[in-house]
Amino acid sequence: MPGIDECLLETMRLPGARGAALVDWTSGLALGTVGDPPGGDHETAAAEAAELARLAAEQHTFGPDDGAGAADPPVEDVILSNRDSYHVLRFVPTTFDSSVVLYLWLARADGNLALARIRLGEMAERLVLA
């Protein structure tokens, strides 16, 4: 029966995982953190990840185009890469009104982006949808 900490610890078992957090992207609050903080500080990292997630979720351009009505949030995940790492933000669907992303910081040398993306999706669902 996973809570926030169990979910984050499971995230850290992914190959190459350096740090992870559960972030509220409206307020910028880190609901939970584990591992190393990207940039040296979990709180700042959470606030900045929240800002990126908000931009992705609020722009009309990035939503689905299948005409099946508005999804909340319209985006599944955001993937950002740099020279030595990946940052993966997975939106967590909930049955109540919330705005939460699961945020994983992945080392580029030993991380597997495709695997991480799939597993983050599964973990996000398991956290809130049983």
Partner: protein, 262 residues
């Protein structure tokens, strides 16, 4: 040319601004800090809300300005109202888990509601807080939060609102829609808030109706205010110049308001 020596003007009398908060930066409530140090268990009642403590950590918070955990969970059908009442009456969180709420979802909603209510409970108040030693709250085991974390987050939230739009008038007053000439596109979550702005509802009312944390609603309303789409209802005595409808004058007034609020 002779130099005339003049005595320097006396120093202007300046109010001593070294208030308690500035002497120890980061301290929102000295009483709460002391309770954390003595690992107290009980309920701290402040002007705008209450904080429940167990061994010096905050385990639950309530505020009349923020929708409670029950509202968050029942508003969108995650839980039916009868089950919530049943669990609350029997003080048994297990009943929530038996009815389709997963432990992860319950923890998520509880932390969210806790920080939300605590933001209002820790707002500057005009009356002193009262602490009653007593038993633990029934949701105490879900997600205790250290007092230092809560105070730091509360300060960060105040700064976040100020950064979005510096005028706090929209936080508590009834809200009205402004109709700018070329309105910007509104993201869906903000649009849900904007739809409910009708000249009567306040931010807290809209939050309760949407089953959404009140601080989230404040954030959305400040963004809408920054975009010129929402403003606070002016008090009835305020005079309305006849040309208020002129978009340029409306814009200038918003700029003036923003500068004054800085």
């Amino acid at each position: 040319m002779t130099m005339v020596g003049t005595t320097p003007p006396p120093r202007l009398p300046v109010r001593d601004r070294t208030s308690a908060g500035e002497r120890s930066p980061g301290c929102v409530s000295p009483m709460l800090t002391r309770l954390a140090e003595e690992r107290a268990t009980g309920v701290l009642a402040r002007e705008h809300g209450t904080l429940h403590l167990v061994e010096g950590r905050v385990v639950h918070a309530e505020s009349p300005l923020a929708p409670g955990l029950g509202v968050l969970l029942t508003a969108h059908g995650a839980l039916d109202a009868a089950t919530w009442r049943d669990a609350e009456d029997s003080a048994d969180e297990g009943r929530l888990l038996e009815h389709g709420v997963t432990p992860g979802a319950l923890e998520l909603a509880q932390v969210s509601a806790l920080y939300d209510a605590a933001y209002f409970a820790l707002a500057p108040s005009s009356t002193p807080g009262r602490f009653r030693y007593g038993a633990a709250h029934w949701l105490a085991s879900l997600h205790p939060v250290p007092v230092a974390d809560l105070e730091r987050e509360t300060l960060r939230r105040r700064a976040l609102l100020r950064r979005i739009w510096p005028d706090p008038a929209t936080d508590a007053a009834p809200l009205i829609r402004a109709d700018p000439v070329a309105p910007p596109a509104v993201p869906p979550r903000q649009a849900a808030v904007l739809e409910r702005v009708d000249g009567v509802r306040r931010a807290a009312d809209i939050a309760r109706e949407l089953g959404r944390p009140a601080f989230h609603t404040l954030v959305h309303i400040r963004r809408l205010a920054a975009a010129g789409l929402v403003s606070s209802q002016p008090s009835p005595v305020a005079d309305h110049p006849p040309d208020a409808a002129d978009p340029y004058i409306a814009l200038l007034k918003r700029v003036r308001d923003a500068l004054e609020a800085l």
